[in-house]
Amino acid sequence: MRFAELHLDLQRLSAPLPIWHARVDRAGWIAVAAQVAQARGRLLSVWGRSGSTGPSVCAAFATPEGLVWAELPLAGAEDRYPDLSDTFACATRMQRSLADLGGLHADHANDRRPWLDHGLWATAAPLATAGAPAGAAAGTLPADYPFVRVEGDGVHEIAVGPVHAGIIEPGHFRFSVVGEKVLRLEQHLGYVHKGIERRFTELAPLQAYRLAGRVSGDMTVAYAWAYAMALESACGTSVPERAEWLRALMLERERVANHLGDLGALGNDAALAFGLAQFSRLREDWQRLSQRAFGHRFMMDAVVPGGVAGDLSLSLRDEQRRQCDELEREVRRLRHIYDEHAGLQDRFMGTGRVTPELAARLGLAGMAGRASGQAVDLRHDHDWQPYRALQARIATQQGGDVAARVALRFDELAESLRLIRELCARLPEGGVAAVVQLPGHAVQGAGWVEGWRGEVLVALSLGAEGRIERCHAHDPSWQNWPVLEHAVIGNIVPDFPLINKSFNLSYSGVDL
């Protein structure tokens, strides 16, 4: 696909990855979606804006050439826009959220149930409301959510959550089962909706990176970087090379920490407590060095607009390289044990399977997508530093089951360790932060980063007076939660925790 074929007035944003913005009319909105779909591109996100320029609906499409941010302005009283869910299945929940938060509705959409709105807010469409919406009203009970019922001989429902049995984020799962077998799973999320996108508009642009870093705690580096990239692209800031390399170093450290945590938890969920003990020990060592190198065990607030919060000393740089060597040896041994363990493989193989065909049709994203043959990884697909210099390699598996998602984590871990060693060895000299000068006029920017779970997007609009008018953060879990409903079908209920963990999706990141 060539951008020229889209016949759009594309405006290139000054981000390190190719990102374009275009205003479209209703016909253009549908045409872009159709052409992207035809060229096997992806719908990344759908969100709404209101503000000085009037309401509009936005969509971000990922294509091999880059990201297209299409914006459809709506006339004053217009609150409808053409539905994208026929072309891209993953649009459904994003459009339902847009209706809840922004009061804008997709025309002729099949599913118009509220998604984020549980019927408890004092204000409808809080993002479209001028001024701060009224505070939380107490004493009312959530509205009944109309789950789809499965009926038949011996079919019954199992309701789980929002408070789960483990130490995990809250959400509700409704299983329709016959015996132990799952016929259907329906999710109901939104329990940790805490008004993040509204909160962005109340913070100063140079401070809001802290909020971005708390969209999803385990992806703090990815979100802070995406936010910083969005702000820098809006302000035309050029970031020192060393800072970009340090950001990549942190992003890979974040990926390694999460893969270590998941590999342990997956072993544990398949009754190999040994795996949890080993991997959680390695993760702890890893986090302690992150704390010493970047000031925080998760590296929160270490990526700031313009660069990074602090420089890395020579000795801590060398320590990271040594830690990579040591960790690689340990992980190689553990991988061998995982691969050879009959009980583990019995639980992993064929469980929670998403075939590459289904993954492509439903838009399975990120790490889970790569385990189902979807070869998409921004670090590899686009020329951005320092990944271009390091020639990041993409890992894929074809199996699409828990075993494939475990294998993929091992593969990615090895590649991240290689990248970290390279980043440390070739770290450029120089400053680590540039001054970000806010422009005195309305402007927009976008940040697009391959986090450990998948690609995150931050779309930022600043008003003329230098305030945040709209900041939209997108998590790859939007694409993947609905696919999890498919992955579970035909499996047994006790395998759900294992399948769920193998996807490891964010609740906070989609509830916002």
């Binding site: 049995a165 939104g190 909020l211 385990d218 986090q287 998760f298």
Partner: protein
């Protein structure tokens, strides 16, 4: 199987021999372990409730179970139901959508019960504050006995917080069972 055993032997007991770098940290963990054991005698059952967090606090609570902190080795364990719990460990600003669930969890916890608000958000609303969707601090919804600030608090701080809550509670001197 022998590979697993070999790895276990190779790893050793990491809870015990502290690397020189972490000596102070290890001593602190051991002291807290000893104090908790002295007070509790038997066991403490904790029900963790995420009332709206970003998941950062949960990850650090998970870390308490790693061999370094070895919280289960103390007889402190996390339970699946509030009905089995002595303590609620609550994270996050309380989202409006979790308010009722948190209140019901609290009501289902048998007395005497302890409530610890964990992390900056649970202590004072944190960066999310109070809004149309967030009730802010945990004490806006249920009574809180102790707070553990931090974003997120590292595992050692969480251990300290649990110890502080157990100590301040009048039933703290519960007999060993």
């Amino acid at each position: 199987m022998w590979q697993i055993l070999r790895q276990i032997v190779r790893t050793g007991i990491v809870t015990e021999p502290p690397p020189a770098l972490d000596a102070a940290l290890k001593d602190e963990v051991r002291r807290i372990h000893d104090e908790l054991l002295a007070i509790l005698g038997s066991a403490l059952a904790i029900r963790q409730v995420d009332a709206g967090s970003c998941n950062g606090c949960e990850l650090e609570i998970h870390a308490l179970n790693n061999p370094y902190y070895n919280i289960e080795g103390l007889g402190i364990h996390f339970v699946a139901s509030p009905r089995h719990a002595d303590m609620l460990l609550v994270t996050g600003p309380v989202s409006r959508h979790m308010e009722e669930a948190l209140r019901r969890t609290y009501d289902a916890t048998p007395q005497p019960r302890l409530v610890v608000a964990l992390g900056d958000c649970a202590c004072d609303g944190g960066i999310f504050g109070e809004s149309y969707a967030s009730c802010g601090r945990v004490s806006n919804v249920i009574p809180v006995d102790a707070v553990v600030p931090g974003c997120p608090p590292p595992p050692l701080e969480i251990l300290r917080g649990i110890l502080a809550a157990v100590k301040m509670n009048p039933r703290g001197g519960r007999q060993a069972g």
